[in-house]
């Protein structure tokens, strides 16, 4: 990041100080400064959900007055969020900065064991044949032909398995992340997952990220956050292909993680701040950001400009996932302090249903009220 900012200094003589802060610290700082009208921060970069919170509190400037940014088209999903904010808060609260999602990485070896009816093309382009059931069949085939369980999921402590559950599987099978937690479609989902787990590498429960297992060759098909697999693809781009996730009966559910740039209300040097935003959203700079952090450009013109072959591969995979016709992108629900409880419910469901083999309906019925209670308490609609 600092390297990039150095070139801005060079070009326009703008000096930027880059300070990483945790979300809670950032929120506290903004609140204190904006209310006291003594703002020291010119640009804020954060996840869309975080910016959502800031905007709802009225801590951000309306960026519309700076005009448009030429020479770049933002991806639709990003613009949708910007529009949503405009609807909710009446202002253009942020400019999209980068995006991430969770994808599937395939070791090219695995393509030798595709099951009947599924071609490489299907997987890579994300056609309607690339379903979760097809994945199970594929994994089973690998197991039968090689005796190894080659699918990997980050099911360990610190792993993001729960995102797979609520943002991918539940959306693909029930259309919603939580609304139909206990439903016949959900039962279908868990049955499929149980079947898939039979062909998952047993050490999955110790993994918090899939980069190493992929590189070691222990895992041939992995699902994880782009930032957690990028190291693998960067190191051995010829070994892997990054593909969109499979679809379920209702569609291809996936999570969009969006980060944006905003200007706090009453911030100093706002024109210069805008220049910084302009800089960070330029296609070339977007490409370079991607090369570094495992988050990806929100500007369509950026992808072709990426130099690193590994990063390029991941970026292509991400683009294809974003472009699938049956894609159902969702955002991680913003639940404040209850987020931990939300996650725990899904993880408990996983542990009891898939690992311990408890009866699906019983577990879902038991956990559903707890889930609903969270949304009731926060007074938000169920996602």
């Amino acid at each position: 990041m600092r390297g990039l900012l150095a070139s801005l200094l060079h070009e326009k003589n703008i000096q930027v100080e880059f300070v990483p802060l945790s979300y809670t610290d950032m929120a506290a700082k903004l609140e204190a400064e904006v209310t006291a009208r003594a703002v020291t921060v010119s640009v804020v970069g954060g996840l869309a959900t975080e910016i959502d919170y800031f905007a709802s509190k009225g801590w951000l400037e309306d960026l519309a007055r700076f005009g448009t940014l030429p020479g770049r088209t933002f991806v639709d999903t990003a613009l949708r969020v910007v529009d949503e904010h405009k609807r909710l808060y009446g202002i253009t609260s942020f400019i999209p900065w980068m995006t991430a999602t969770f994808v599937i990485v395939v070791n090219n070896e695995a393509f030798k064991y595709l099951p009947e009816g599924l071609t490489r093309e299907d997987v890579v382009m994300g056609t309607e044949k690339w379903t979760w059931d097809a994945l199970v069949a594929w994994a089973k085939n690998i197991y039968e032909k090689t005796g190894e369980r080659r699918v990997g999921l980050p099911a360990g402590a610190g792993g993001l398995l729960h995102r797979l559950l609520h943002g991918y599987l539940y959306v693909s099978y029930t259309g919603y992340q939580s609304k139909y937690f206990n439903s016949p479609e959900a039962v279908q989902l868990w049955t499929m997952l149980r079947e898939l787990w039979k062909y998952c590498h047993p050490e999955s429960t110790t993994w918090s990220a899939m980069a190493e297992p992929l590189l070691r060759g222990d895992v041939w098909i992995a699902w994880d956050h782009t930032a957690r697999i990028i190291a693998a693809v960067k190191e051995r781009p010829e070994m892997f292909t990054v593909v969109p996730v499979p679809r379920g009966p209702v569609g291809r559910g996936y999570i969009i993680v969006l980060a944006g740039l905003a200007i706090p209300k009453g911030a100093p040097n706002q024109d210069v701040a805008w220049e910084l935003i302009e800089f960070l959203t330029r296609p070339e700079i977007q490409a370079r950001i991607a090369e570094n952090v495992g988050f990806f450009p929100v500007v369509k013109e950026a992808t072709p400009v990426i130099v690193d072959p590994g990063v390029k591969k991941v970026s292509e995979g991400v683009s294809r996932q974003l472009a699938t016709l049956d894609g159902k992108p969702v955002f991680i629900p913003m639940l404040g302090g209850r987020a931990g409880d939300f996650i725990a419910i899904y993880r408990e469901a996983f542990e009891r249903i898939v690992l311990k083999g408890e009866d699906i309906s019983t577990v879902l019925a038991e956990l559903e009220p707890k889930l609903k209670a969270i949304f009731a308490e926060l007074n938000v609609p169920e996602p």
Partner: protein, 267 residues
């Protein structure tokens, strides 16, 4: 016992202790891909230590040292007088007090840490080095008292009485005669307190967030996850870094240890 058996057991014990340490240290310098394939890696690199330096292990290391030194200072300041009293002076309730002090260590640190965390948040000590040091002092204090009491016991009374004969006040006796004689033992006690702080992980984790000491930082999933986030040699480097003071300490403390523990245990 026959000599051969003795040597066999001796070698077994040595291997049992040394193998994990040596292999881990070797592995921490090994190139990850090579390490995964071979038993004895052939390619080596300093990369992981460099990365650690970048990731902030150096700051965590520094913090651990700071907390450790503060712990030694505070526990000595508070504990040495008590150790002297308990060891040297005869007074009513001495045994009760001795047991009580020990009893305070009986309760798990986990119980103590959580409420203190809440308190610290309120008074602004949360996520500070001094906060962690205060807890570590509480943990180390009973040991310091116990150890120093047995050290002071072993100092010949005649020397102290000689000091009194020469007209020194009790405080002067203590400072000019007792302390210098006790220095080697006190040094050992200091190292002990330092190590308790250095190795302590539970309270350090609960009481800090950004400003973590080394073990606390290692325990966080980012660095820790036996998961796939980082290649294994990173963990080995972390372990090696944490072990080094232990080795230094043990080399020094050899002589004193059995005496100290013996005195404390059989009572």
């Amino acid at each position: 016992m026959r000599k051969t058996w003795i040597y066999i057991i001796a070698i077994f014990i040595s291997l049992w202790i040394l193998t994990p340490i040596i292999y881990t240290t070797i592995a921490s310098f090994a190139d990850a891909r090579d390490y995964y394939e071979r038993l004895i890696p052939r390619k080596y690199t300093l990369r992981y230590y460099e990365e650690y330096w970048r990731l902030g292990v150096s700051s965590a290391l520094l913090r651990s040292i700071q907390v450790g030194l503060s712990t030694v200072a505070m526990s000595f300041l508070i504990g040495i007088p008590a150790g002297y009293a308990v060891g040297r002076l005869k007074f009513k309730g001495r045994d009760v007090i001795k047991v009580t002090i020990l009893l305070f260590r009986v309760l798990p640190i986990v119980i103590i840490a959580v409420p203190l965390a809440v308190l610290f948040i309120r008074i602004g000590l949360y996520d500070t080095l001094i906060g962690v040091a205060l807890i570590h002092t509480a943990i180390a204090l009973p040991f310091v008292v116990l150890i120093t009491s047995s050290i002071f016991i072993s100092i010949p009374r005649e020397l102290e009485e000689a000091g009194v004969v020469f007209g020194l006040s009790p405080l002067q006796v203590f400072v000019k005669i007792t302390l210098p004689l006790a220095t080697p033992g006190l040094a050992a006690a200091a190292m002990f307190a330092f190590l308790i702080s250095w190795n302590e992980v539970v309270a350090a984790t609960i009481l800090s967030y950004l400003n973590r000491t080394l073990p606390a930082m290692v325990l966080t999933p980012y660095v820790m996850g036996t998961g796939g986030e980082l290649p294994d040699p990173y963990k080995f480097a972390a372990a090696t870094i944490m072990i080094v003071p232990a080795l230094v300490f043990m080399a020094y403390i050899r002589k004193y240890l059995t005496a100290m523990w013996g005195a404390a245990g059989v009572k």
